[in-house]
């Protein structure tokens, strides 16, 4: 990206314009604020649980004296779920787990996909064909089913869930990176770099990658929400043989037997996921505006 003069330093014209474009999209700003709240929650529970007065930050605290779900009250603002778990603290703890898991899936998945996608475009020919056929094969099995199959082989636990979802997720990024880099590859400056004698690796990672990265990063931010949905769905159908694990999908299953009398046990953990997924989507739309030249020039 060409740097125009102006203020200099970090807040140059380029960055100011990006910020302006982003701030003009109100839903995206709301999304960003909510995502930041979730991240803050996760960081506080991880590093300073005493700030929120959590005694047992990495597991649910059951209360078998009164295991039946209680409706929301002053003592339990969001009520309790079976077995006597305070839903508010449970959700605060669960946000850390869900956010952490979804970052742990998206980052390596995207990294792997980006590298493979760039290799596919740049080398082209039969390597490209082969890699794309491989992604086709991974696409052909629904992600939930593939995750179950991988989970069977590795044994169902949290590590294998992450590995299974990475295996499911990288083809998406490989495809996406390929479609973006294909356009970049044909540009004149790549030809210039080649004429100047740059090596293949240098062209791929120094010249093509930085230009393909922004759209892929937007996709990654949006996927944080999608992956959280998949993780909670897997936990919901019983992929993780755990108990007292603060995870939003698992939290939902705790209240399932009380669906007739205690709908809050299901609604509150669910709403937390919906809010995150929608915020991340809105944030992604805002970021997409930022990297979209048409939108930039309209300001």
């Amino acid at each position: 990206m060409a740097r125009r003069g102006g203020l200099g330093g970090f807040w140059n014209e380029e960055r100011k314009l990006s910020l302006q474009v982003f701030l003009s999209n109100k839903p995206a700003v709301v999304g960003l604020v909510i995502v930041l709240i979730y991240i803050a929650d996760a960081l506080i529970v991880q590093f300073a649980p005493w700030l929120l007065g959590l005694k047992n930050p990495y597991a649910l605290t059951p209360n078998y004296i009164n295991p039946i779900p209680q409706p929301p009250s002053w003592k339990y603002p969001l009520g309790t779920t079976y077995p006597g778990v305070n839903l508010l603290t449970a959700i605060i703890k669960a946000i850390r787990v869900d956010l952490g898991l979804s970052v742990a899936v998206v980052l390596p998945g995207a990294g792997l996909g980006i590298v493979i996608g760039i290799i596919a475009t740049y080398i082209g020919g039969w390597v490209d064909d082969l890699l794309m056929r491989i992604t086709d094969i991974f696409f052909s099995v629904p992600y939930l089913v593939l995750a179950i199959a991988v989970g069977y082989v590795l044994g169902r636990d949290i590590t294998s869930m992450i590995i299974a979802l990475i295996i499911v997720w990288w083809p998406l990024y490989a495809r996406y990176t390929r479609s973006v880099t294909l356009q970049v590859r044909e540009l004149t400056f790549i030809e210039a770099a080649r004429a100047a004698g740059a090596s293949n690796a240098k062209i791929m990672f120094r010249h093509i990658l930085p230009n393909a990265l922004p759209p892929v990063l937007v996709q990654m931010s949006m996927d944080l929400g999608t992956v959280m949905l998949v993780i909670s769905a897997l936990a919901f159908i019983g992929f993780l043989p755990v108990s007292n694990f603060p995870e939003l999908g698992y939290l939902t299953t705790l209240g399932l037997n009380y669906i007739n009398t205690a709908p809050w046990t299901i609604l509150f953990p669910g709403i937390v996921i919906v809010i995150f997924a929608v915020s991340v989507y809105l944030l992604g739309m805002g970021l997409m505006d930022v990297i979209n030249p048409r939108r930039r020039s309209s300001l």
């Binding site: 939930l144 179950i148 949905l229 669906i259 709908p263 995150f276 929608v278």
Partner: protein, 341 residues
């Protein structure tokens, strides 16, 4: 047309997953737990011989593929069905097919008008309402959607049953409904019609509504968003303006002129919709205890039942590859650029 290579790749992938756990994981379900000591070792050796697990891995693949092509998918042991996996498929697949097709039709007849309406009324209050609705659907885990629909329609309004396929009181003493499996098509609603039991068919249909609606709503968000975006672009084009300036009524302009063009992105993305739906089937069927392959697959997962998981993975892959092939052909026929060119 990458149908055949993708299918071969699919079998290779399932085979690789199946064998990644080593030979002992494969034969574990067949070992008699009462045997111990040398007799147990002898049985292990016999099983390894029998399943050709001492051969090179590519030879094993061809043995496995051979068995697969002869309809031998191994055995499955789950609370809802025990026996050959092919028999389980014959029982569960028709149910899933009925559910998915019903959901697909619902999605189409609700999603397409909503998407069109949303684009025509761009930025008006009803468009905003539709967008909030579709964003919420997009961000909703499918199990939550299912449970919310259950809470609304089954718990509070008491209009529809919570789960299962039929009210068990109605099936007492039926000769064609044994152990939760109906004959001859295994789909209760069709079998009831075949046997002329309309009361039972109606009851089975009531049980089908909520799962189908859940699946339809979950898949709808994507269709609405894609159609809205492409419709807005198309509505701005010269030929649409021309149609309007000719004095055609607005309804004809949007439905007859703009929408057919705006539908193409929906068609090309339809394979993703189907993929999302197939993942949704797994969750929806297990929430509603609906006896389809998704429910069978989750039961296999919970019981670490290899036969069920592998047959389920294969059949889901096969369904997806076949539908996307069929869709490709269908939409190629619909696309005038391909049909006429």
């Amino acid at each position: 047309m990458y149908y055949i290579p993708t299918l071969i790749g699919l079998t290779v992938m399932v085979f690789a997953i199946l064998h990644a756990g080593g030979p002992y994981k494969l034969i574990a379900p067949y070992i008699n737990p009462r045997l111990s000591g040398p007799a147990r070792q002898e049985q292990i050796q016999m099983l390894i011989q029998k399943f050709h697990l001492n051969q090179p891995i590519y030879v094993q693949y061809f043995y496995w593929l051979w068995a697969l092509l002869h309809g031998n998918l191994g055995y499955t042991t789950t609370p809802i069905f025990s026996g050959p996996a092919t028999e389980a498929l014959a029982i569960f697949f028709p149910n899933t097919a009925v559910l998915a097709i019903f959901a697909g039709v619902l999605m189409w007849i609700i999603g397409i008008p909503l998407g069109t309406w949303s684009a025509v009324r761009k930025d008006k209050p009803d468009d905003v309402a539709i967008r909030v609705f579709s964003y919420t659907l997009y961000g909703m885990p499918i199990y939550l959607l299912a449970v919310v629909l259950i809470i609304i329609f089954a718990v509070y309004l008491k209009l529809l049953p919570i789960s299962g396929v039929v009210n068990p009181e109605l099936t007492v003493g039926l000769s064609w409904y044994v152990n939760g499996i109906s004959y001859p098509t295994h789909v209760l609603i069709i079998d009831a019609i075949i046997h002329g039991d309309w009361k039972l068919a109606l009851n089975a249909f009531e049980h089908l509504i909520l799962p189908a609606f859940t699946l339809a709503l979950a898949a709808m968000a994507g269709v609405i968003n894609i159609l809205r975006a492409s419709m807005i672009e198309v509505l701005d084009q010269d030929y649409v303006r021309f149609a309007r300036s000719k004095g055609l009524p607005e309804g004809v302009v949007t439905k007859k002129h703009a929408r057919p063009t705006a539908m193409f992105p929906v068609y090309t993305n339809f394979a993703y919709t189907v993929a999302g739906m197939l993942s949704g089937v797994v969750v929806v069927e297990s929430v509603f205890d609906y006896p389809g392959i998704g429910y069978w697959l989750t039961q296999s997962m919970l019981g670490n039942d290899m036969g069920g998981i592998m047959a389920g993975t294969l059949i889901f892959g096969l369904i997806f590859v076949t539908t996307s092939l069929a869709l490709d052909i269908l939409f190629a026929i619909k696309d005038p650029r391909i049909r006429l060119g």
